[in-house]
Symmetry: C2
Subunit: 259 residues, 2 copies
């Protein structure tokens, strides 16, 4: 493990809302969706939380933690992409989630252990907090705890959505859904630009949506031939027809079936 760079002024691992930042410590690395975690904290709270954590870094393919290992740390990503997965001992693997800047990883734990294995998809940087201290902090800051609960709730929501995708959608629908999800992930973090960078290989996408890499590749080709997307190099995608893509992905139609 390399030396950690931590100073009292380094708040870049914590997020502050862009619009409501009056009197808040500066932060420009955690825009978007998961920003809410630290939103309820005032300067003193932010500084206190900060004092619990240190910066860590991983290279692509390195593991942040393994499923069933004791969960000592909680991570808040400040740079890069992480996948969380679970595997069978015959090698089959299901990727459960794709995490990016601003996301909390390794929280919550289940019975003190990590539920999933987290792997760096790119170079990754994160703030690492001692889990005990992190939870004690939350107990002392009810608004923060509430924010944490909302984050967990969102994780559950996404898990449900992905279960619907994997359990019910056809191959091309699944890949379309994946692309919509990645586009939203990128948009949320203002990582925008006309082109989407996937960061996942075809095999990784396959492990995420429950297909083989060949089928994923054929689905990309099919979407390209429909002029819904364009493929740029190996891991760039341009979304040419968002409405068509959303339609194929069945993204909107999630109302309950009539009894």
């Amino acid at each position: 493990m390399q030396t950690l760079r931590v100073t009292a002024n380094d708040t870049s691992c914590l997020s502050t809302p862009a619009g409501k930042g009056k009197g808040r410590l500066p932060c420009d690395t955690c825009p978007g969706r998961s920003l809410g975690i630290c939103q309820p904290l005032d300067d003193a709270g932010l500084a206190e939380l900060l004092s619990l954590g240190g910066r860590r870094r991983w290279q692509r393919h390195e593991l942040l933690y393994r499923a069933d290992d004791r969960a000592f740390m909680v991570y808040k990503i400040t740079k890069g992409f992480v996948i969380e997965s679970r595997a069978l001992d015959d090698g089959r693997r299901q990727i459960m989630s794709i995490r990016a800047v601003g996301d909390l990883c390794g929280y919550p734990a289940f019975a003190g252990s990590h539920m999933l294995t987290a792997e760096a998809l790119t170079e990754v940087e994160a703030c690492a907090f001692d889990r005990r201290k992190f939870e004690a902090f939350a107990a002392r800051h009810p608004k923060f705890a509430e924010s944490l609960a909302a984050d967990t709730s969102e994780k559950l929501h996404r898990a449900s959505e992905n279960m619907l995708v994997v359990g019910q959608l056809k191959s091309t629908e699944r890949v379309a859904h994946f692309l919509v999800e990645m586009a939203e992930l990128q948009a949320d973090r203002h990582l925008g630009g006309p082109t989407l960078t996937l960061h996942l290989t075809r095999q990784e996408i396959a492990d995420y949506v429950g297909l083989t890499l060949e089928t994923v590749s054929r689905s990309f080709t099919k979407l390209r031939d429909l002029h819904v997307i364009a493929l740029i190099g190996a891991d760039g995608v341009a979304l040419l027809d968002r409405p068509a893509l959303a339609d194929i992905s069945k993204t909107s139609g999630t109302s309950p079936r009539g009894s």
Copy 2:
């Protein structure tokens, strides 16, 4: 909605651990797994929580709530079985979870709305709590809030496991896994007995594991021919060889794949 029967002494919707019940209010309807929710409460706390809720009842096929509806109530099941699902508008449906006595339903909500549709699988009874009051109560009782967080964490854990099942397992493996899960559910609630009662039709099992009802039926037949189970009527199953079943279901092998 029919008249609710609530009295200050009716604690049957709240659980107290069987072994540690010294000085606790009596309760015999919530044995097993999810009992922990109320475990940290003392008599006064239990009574206070109780005062927030009333008893409700549903018949098979009735909905407790629908996905995307505002979440006004939180339910704690005191009798029967409930499934939570999400459907596409073309009718495809994914059942996300099977809830039984002691389980909390409709919590947590996502952005104030239910994430899933809940349907009674049998006759069901539950304690219904006003969500606002329930959450305010949790805010006033940190130990209880902690217990709630642990429950949510377990929900996330089960969601991950089911995603692995639906995304990676073969048809018969999925059905075997379903049987193991149901057996554990029954064991946890002391609803024991040598025979497992499923309460789900083949179609419902299919919607749970992401197959068709015919494939589920064929998987049952295959497991019967292997002498791993015996089929008793339409919804009874005897587990003749638990180790073999666990083996087929890949239940244990969930360690991370080596990088």
